[in-house]
Structures are given as structure tokens and as C-alpha cells.
Symmetry: C2
């Protein structure tokens, strides 16, 4: 992509990445986005949100991959192949979709800190490789500690009323933007749904004047 | 792909292509599959079926793109971008999804004849470019005539009781194979769902001994 100069990302070269740690296709994007975006000189705005309330507002009381047996069976086959293609490890979680409230609150808190990408990859791997309960304080704290971060302090801050409210507000913002699944990417007002559209969304950063 | 010799496709190098003319993502695959398969030395087995009964058996009384407003709005945006990417024309049909019973019966009849790919592209373009009623005898006959085929004779044969029954049986076969949407590809027992997986499915023809 010869239009990608070595310069730092300008405001025009940004992508919003909306994800939930329970979402299997979000896992693929969490593992891929930092490198793919960097290769194109695009900055990532990490936007953790709660997919559960979005599904419930649409009339689904669980993931479509659970509610639709046929699609659910297919999805794990597809995940195996996709992970092989990308060179990403996968163990089908024994609980799906996993609630990840605390992990998401921490991600929201860290969204603009330099550790966000590594933290998100670590949490995703705990869910989709090590099959651990990413909703627990134990797993979230371990993930933070592994990155050399003050886990106790961050977890306490993540559980403050202000931060809890922010996650609810971010989830409402997702709904009002028309988000119906995860991962979802925005480049300006342009929405892209699904890990399969990550490259298209990144390329779109350069496709139109903004 | 250096493993693709110039030889004719062997039985191992075949892909089943399950589609409905009303399905917008099937449109993309109908327009692309012949060239993509030929480039890899893969033969296409065309498998027209009725998506409506599949959706109804899964508990949906219409396309998910109609039932889910948010997803529906997104899908047409996505279609515009995908068509631009592939260089395929698109006019959003005024009726969606369009019933295409007769057109599918003709496709079933022609599935192993040399005109199947060109016929399917023609019908799809009548739906997704020219916004015409592909369920009508008029449009189906025109499509056949355009290919220099005896339209009246083919339409009569397509509407025989035997051929009508075959389409119902093919739709039941789709359900029993676990198909829940279109397009769907099979390489042996391996299922791939969606136009986004066409290349993966074709490449899979060479990925394992069969």
C-alpha cells in the first residue's frame, strides 16, 4: 500500500474496534488488529462493550450461535479453519459465550493506555485457548500482573461506579450506532461487521476524504 | 498455486455450490465462482435449492436481513462495498428476498448442462441489477433465449412434476446436510458458509487427501 507513509496516524487514519471478550469472532480480530492496523499506519480506538444487552434488545436471549443449533455447529468448524489460516491457537471454551464483565470494565479503563492491545490479547487467550473464567477477578488480575501492571489498583478502579456506568453508556452507544454483533469496526460513519471485514475497514481509512 | 496443474479436474477437485437466486450473497458467488474455480482447476457442482423452507424450519418466517432491521440496513451497505470491490454491478431490488421458484427449477434442470453458469449469472443480474421479477415465466424465458436456448421447451420440462419433486428433494437434502443459509459450499463433507469463504473452500480442495 504505497499511500501509507511512515508518518504517524492522522485523525483521518483511525479505526474504532467494538468487541466483547465473549465473542469468538472478536477473538480473531483482537489477535490480528494491532499488527494489521500498524502495517497500514492506522490507529485503533478500542471500544469494549457488552454484546448481551445488544442481543437482548434485538430479541435474542443468547448468542445466535447458541440459539441456532446448525449455525452453532458450523461456527466452531469455521473457527478451527480460520485459526489455522491465521496461525492462532484455539480451544473451544467449555462455556460459551462467557460473561466477561470485569474484564470488559478493565478494558474500558485501559482503552487509551499503552497496554490495551496486549491486555485484550491476554484475556482472549485465557478464554479461547486456556478455557478459563475471564469473568473472575483471579483471571483478570493474573492477566494484568503478567503485563507488569498493578492489578489490584486497576481492578478496584475498574469496579468504581463511574467506570461501571461508562461501560453501560458505551453499550448504549453501540446500540445507537446500529451495532448488532461483534466485532464491528467504524471508520468515520462507515460500519463494517465481522472479522472478515477487518482488512476492508482498514483499507477504507484511505479510500475517501474525511 | 503451484499444485494446480493444467489437468482437468479430478473427482477430488470438485466443489458443491448451494444457492438460491433470491439470496444477495449468493449473487456475489454466482458471479465469481466459475472464474475462481477454473483458475484453481476445480469443477463446480451447481446445487440450486429453496432457502425459504430452510429458514422456516429454523423458525424464521423471512430472511434474517428482513427480520433484523439493523442487520438488514447494514447488509445493503456491505453489498455496495463488496460489489465495488469485485467489480460487480448492483441495484438494490425493490422486492427482497425475491421468490425464484421457476428460475430455480430451470437451474436444477440445467445443473449439469454447459449453460448453467451463464444462465445463473443472467438470472442473478435480472434480480440484482435490473430489478426484475425472476419468478416470472417472462424473465426466465428471456434469460434462456438470450443464451440461444429453446426457452419454451426448457420451461415446460422444468415445470414437470418430476422436476418439481426433485427441487423439493434437493431442498430437503440441503436441510439434512446442515445448511442454514446461502451460499454454502461443500468440499467433501467440509461445509463453508458465505461468499466470504469461497476462496477458502476452493483452496480446501487441495488441502487434504480424499
Amino acid at each position: 500500500m504505497d499511500h501509507v507513509a511512515a508518518s504517524a496516524a492522522t485523525p483521518a487514519h483511525r479505526i474504532e474496534f467494538w468487541f466483547d471478550f465473549g465473542s469468538n469472532y472478536s477473538y480473531l480480530s483482537v489477535m490480528r488488529i494491532e499488527a494489521e492496523a500498524a502495517a497500514r499506519g492506522v490507529s485503533v480506538d478500542w471500544r469494549p462493550f457488552l454484546l448481551g444487552p445488544i442481543f437482548r434488545a434485538l430479541g435474542f436471549d443468547n448468542s445466535p450461535f447458541v440459539l441456532q443449533k446448525e449455525k452453532g455447529a458450523y461456527v466452531w468448524k469455521d473457527m478451527e479453519r480460520q485459526c489455522r489460516k491465521y496461525g492462532i491457537a484455539l480451544t473451544r471454551p467449555s462455556v460459551f459465550p462467557r460473561a466477561a464483565l470485569l474484564a470488559l470494565r478493565v478494558a474500558l479503563l485501559g482503552a487509551e493506555r499503552e497496554w490495551i492491545a496486549a491486555y485484550c490479547r491476554e484475556i482472549m487467550q485465557q478464554n479461547f485457548v486456556h478455557d478459563r473464567d475471564i469473568g473472575s477477578i483471579e483471571v483478570v488480575s493474573e492477566a494484568l500482573a503478567k503485563l507488569g501492571l498493578p492489578a489490584q489498583q486497576i481492578v478496584a478502579e475498574a469496579q468504581s461506579d463511574a467506570n461501571k456506568l461508562r461501560l453501560r453508556e458505551q453499550t448504549e452507544a453501540a446500540a445507537s450506532k446500529g451495532i448488532f454483533g461483534a466485532p464491528t469496526f467504524f471508520v468515520g460513519d462507515e460500519m463494517f461487521w465481522g472479522n472478515d471485514r477487518l482488512e476492508d475497514a482498514l483499507d477504507f481509512c484511505y479510500s475517501s476524504p474525511r
